[in-house]
Symmetry: C2
Subunit: 451 residues, 2 copies
C-alpha cells in the first residue's frame, strides 16, 4: 500500500483540477513528477474525445472507443488522485471545493476546466425534440433517434407520413452540424442500401440549417464553399441565412429571407450553440469574476482570475481574449495549451514556495516559453470533415480540401486519441467502414425497446 | 426500388419469425433463396451474442462488439423483411401475430424464438439489488454498478464501510456466474492495480454462491473441481450448497449447512435462473400448449406444437425433451440447430405446397438429415471460462482445462461471432487485454453521473 503510506506524509503543495476534459487532463499530466499533490475531479470516470462524438451518434464507433478511463490514463502518476464527484460550490477564502455529497476538497491552487453544455438560446423545451451532442449519453440518444426514424418509416402504414420520418433537420452549420449532416447522408445513401423492404433510405432528406451566410463560418469563405459543395453532392439540403424559430415533436419552423417554412420532420439534432458549465456562474458569484454572454469566465492573460492568482479557468469555460480582441474558440487545442501553460506556472510557483534555492527546471520546461509570460495560443489551424473522403483544412500556411484534407483529418484525430488501444480500434473500424461502407455500431439501446 | 416491386407480386408462402436470437436468426438465414417470404420481428434492431455479455459487464468489450444489426446481417437476403416491434398476441385461427402498435402480421408458418429473461424464483424485488445479465442494458447497468462500487469505496469517509463496497456477491455458479466471478477477481487484482490512492482493490472480496454441491453443475464433477480450484486461486470465495434467502441494498443473506450468514455488500449480481419469455404463456393460452415450470413451451419431436404443425417454438423458449428425458439446455447450439432443422422442414413443406413436381433440393439440404425425421440435438460439448488463461471444456470425446481449454474457448467464441468486423475488433481487444492486463471499456454511463 505504497500510496496510502504517502498520504500520511506532511501536506505538499496541492492542486485541485475540476474536469477531466482536454484542459484538465493535460494539466494533470503536465504536473507529472512535480512535488505537488494533484486531485482531479470529474462527474465521469472517463476522459471523452468530444471531436469524434458525432461518429458514435452515427454508429461508426462505440462509446468506449472515444473514451479513456481517467484512472487508467493517470495510473502511472502516483501524485494524482482521481475522484468521481460533482463540485457544487467553492469556499474561496478557505481554499476548498465542496462536492455534492458534502465532502470538502482543499487546495492551494484551483484549476476549473468544467467545459460547456448545449445552449438553446432560451428555448430549453427544444432540447426534448432536438437533442444536442455533448456527452456519450447524448450520442447514444441521437443514435437511437436516427435509427428509430428509419425503423418507424419502414413500419409506417400511412404513406403520407413516411417522408416526415425520413426528413432530418440538423440545426447549426459549424463543424458538428456539417459532420453529422455529411455522415447521415452517407448512411442513408450507402450503408442502409438493401436493408429495408418498403422504404428507400436514399429518399432521405437532410436539411442543414445555419443562421450565418455560409456553413463553417469560422473558416475562410473558400473552404466554406468547398464544404457546402461536398454536402450538396451528398444530397444535403444546405440552408444558410436561415433561423430556426420553433421546434415541435413533428416539425421545425425555419425563417429566412424567403419567409417562414414549416418542415415536417420527426428528427432534429441540435448543433447550434453551447453554453459554459454552470460552475462558471458559481465561481463568478464566489469570486466576483466577470462572465461573458455565453457564461464563460473572463480570465487574465495568465488564465487566472483577477485578484485570485490561485484560481485558473481554462478550456471551454474560459473567456480568454485573443490577439484579435475576440475570445479564443472553444476547441481542444486551446484547452490543451492552456492546461500545459497553467501546469508550468504552477510548477514554477511550487518551486519558489520551497525556498531560495530552487532546483533546476524540470525536463519538460526546457526550451519552452517562460511561464511568467502571458498565455499565448499557438493556432495550428482548423479542420472539419464532411464525410467519406471529404474534409476542409486551414493550417494558415496552407489551405486544402477533399481527399488530402480528409487523410490529414484522420491522421490528426487518430494521434490525438488518448490510449493506444483506442487508436488501434478506431483505425480498424475506420478502415472497415471505409472499405465496406458499413457501420456496425448501429444499436438502438435504451429503456423503450421497439415502439 | 427492386424490393418494393416484389411486394406487389402474388403472395408467396410466408414465414413469421419472432425473435432474432440464435434460433430465429439461423432459421431466417437457412431460408435464404427459398421461394418463401420471411418476416423477422424483434424488439431490438440487433442480434446479441449473449455468451459474451459478461465481458461487456466487466468492461472488456463494447456493446457493439457483441451485437450485429439484424438488417445488416440479412441485407443480402431479399426474401427477409426485418421489423422492429413487439408481438403481444397471436390470432391462431386467423394465422396472424399482433404487434403492440396494433399492426397484424399474417403468416403461413410461425416460428416463436423469443428466448428467456431473468428469473428470481418469486423474489422479484431482488431484481433491483441484484440485476441479472440477459440484455445489453443489463450488461452496461452491471458494469456501472461494479465500477461505481470501487469509486464509492475510494470516496467512503467511514473506514468501517469500505469493505461492504469492496464485497461482491455473484448468485449462481453456472457458466455466467463463474465467468463473472473470475473476471471480476482479475480486474480487482490486476487491472485496477495502481489506479486508486486510498483503497487497495486487491482487498476485494468476491463470493460466488451456488445451491448445488459444486459450481458448473452441468459439467462432470472433475471439471467442476478444476473450475473451483481456478476460482480459488484468483481469490474467489466459492460457496456451494448455499442458498440466497434475502437480498437488500446493503446485504445478502446466505443459508447453508453451517446456518445463516448476512454478508454486508453493496453489489450483487444475479446469475441464478432464467425464465422463458412471457410470449410462451401467450402462446399457450392461444393454442392450449403445455408449459413447464420455467414457462417453456413443451414441443413435439419436430419442434412444433401439438395440433398446430404450423407453429414452431425453438431455443430457450422451447422445452424439447432430450434423449435422457430431460429438456435440452438453454444454450446457443440447441437454438441454432433447432433453427436449421425448422428451416429445412419449412422449405420441404413449401416445396410440397407448390405441386406434384418439386424442384431438386436446395444446395444446403444436401447430405443432411431428412427434415421429416424428428429433431435430434448434436451435442458437441460444453465449456466455460474462468478468467485469464483458464477454462474448462467437455467435448464428450475429450475433457480438458486450463490454458488449452481457454484457447479453444477463445477460438470457438470468435468464429461464432456474427459479422467479420466484430471478430476482428474482439480479437484486437482480447489480445490487448491479455498482454496489458487492461480493460478499456470501463465506462460509467447512465443518468446519474457521479454520486
Amino acid at each position: 500500500m505504497r500510496h496510502n503510506a504517502r498520504m500520511t506524509e506532511p501536506a505538499r503543495y496541492s492542486v485541485l483540477i475540476v474536469g477531466g476534459g482536454f484542459g484538465g487532463l493535460r494539466a494533470a499530466q503536465c504536473l507529472k513528477r512535480a512535488p505537488i499533490d494533484v486531485t482531479l475531479i470529474d462527474r465521469r470516470n472517463f476522459h471523452l474525445f468530444q471531436p469524434l462524438l458525432y461518429q458514435v451518434a452515427t454508429g461508426g464507433l462505440s462509446p468506449a472507443n472515444i473514451a479513456a478511463p481517467l484512472r487508467a490514463v493517470l495510473k502511472r502518476q502516483p501524485n494524482v488522485r482521481v475522484l468521481l464527484g460533482e463540485v457544487v460550490a467553492f469556499d474561496i477564502n478557505g481554499r476548498g471545493a465542496l462536492l455534492r455529497d458534502g465532502e470538502a476538497i482543499p487546495y492551494d491552487t484551483l484549476i476549473v476546466a468544467a467545459g460547456a453544455a448545449n445552449h438553446y438560446f432560451g428555448n430549453d423545451r427544444w432540447a426534448e425534440y432536438a437533442p444536442g451532442l455533448k456527452s456519450l449519453e447524448d450520442a447514444t440518444h441521437i443514435r437511437r433517434r436516427l435509427l428509430l426514424a428509419f425503423e418507424a418509416a419502414e413500419r409506417e402504414k400511412d404513406p403520407q407520413r413516411v417522408p416526415e420520418w425520413l426528413t432530418f433537420v440538423i440545426v447549426g452549420g459549424g463543424p458538428t452540424g456539417v459532420e453529422l449532416a455529411g455522415t447521415l447522408a452517407e448512411i442513408a445513401r450507402y450503408t442502409l442500401r438493401h436493408e429495408f423492404r418498403r422504404i428507400d433510405p436514399a429518399a432521405t432528406r437532410i436539411l442543414l440549417v445555419e443562421g450565418a451566410e455560409r456553413v463553417l463560418p469560422t473558416f475562410v469563405p473558400r473552404l466554406s464553399e468547398k464544404a457546402e459543395r461536398s454536402l450538396r453532392r451528398l444530397g444535403v439540403d444546405v440552408r444558410t441565412r436561415t433561423l430556426v424559430t420553433d421546434i415541435q415533436s413533428d416539425s421545425v419552423t425555419l425563417r429566412s429571407g424567403d419567409g417562414e417554412e414549416v418542415v415536417a420532420t420527426r428528427t432534429a439534432v441540435w448543433g447550434a450553440g453551447v453554453q459554459a458549465s454552470s460552475l462558471g456562474r458559481t465561481l463568478a458569484v464566489a469570486t466576483g469574476a466577470e462572465l461573458d454572454r455565453a457564461g464563460r469566465v473572463i480570465v487574465q492573460p495568465d488564465c487566472s482570475l483577477r485578484d485570485h492568482p490561485e484560481i485558473f479557468v481554462i478550456g471551454d469555460l474560459a473567456h480568454f481574449r485573443g490577439p484579435d480582441g475576440k475570445p479564443l474558440p472553444g476547441v481542444a487545442p486551446v484547452a490543451i495549451q492552456q492546461g500545459e501553460y497553467v501546469a508550468r506556472l504552477i510548477r514554477e510557483r511550487a518551486r519558489q514556495a520551497r525556498g531560495p534555492n530552487p532546483p533546476p527546471a524540470a525536463a519538460d520546461d526546457r526550451g519552452r516559453a517562460r511561464p511568467q509570460r502571458p498565455f499565448r495560443y499557438v493556432d495550428r489551424g482548423i479542420m472539419a470533415t464532411i464525410g467519406r473522403a471529404a474534409a476542409v483544412a486551414d493550417l494558415h500556411w496552407v489551405r486544402f480540401w477533399g481527399y488530402p484534407a480528409w487523410l490529414v483529418w484522420l491522421f490528426i484525430h487518430l494521434i490525438m486519441l488518448v490510449e493506444f488501444q483506442n487508436k488501434l480500434l478506431v483505425l480498424v473500424q475506420w478502415a472497415w467502414n471505409y472499405f465496406t461502407w458499413s457501420r456496425s455500431a448501429r444499436l438502438i439501446t435504451g429503456d423503450e425497446p421497439g415502439r
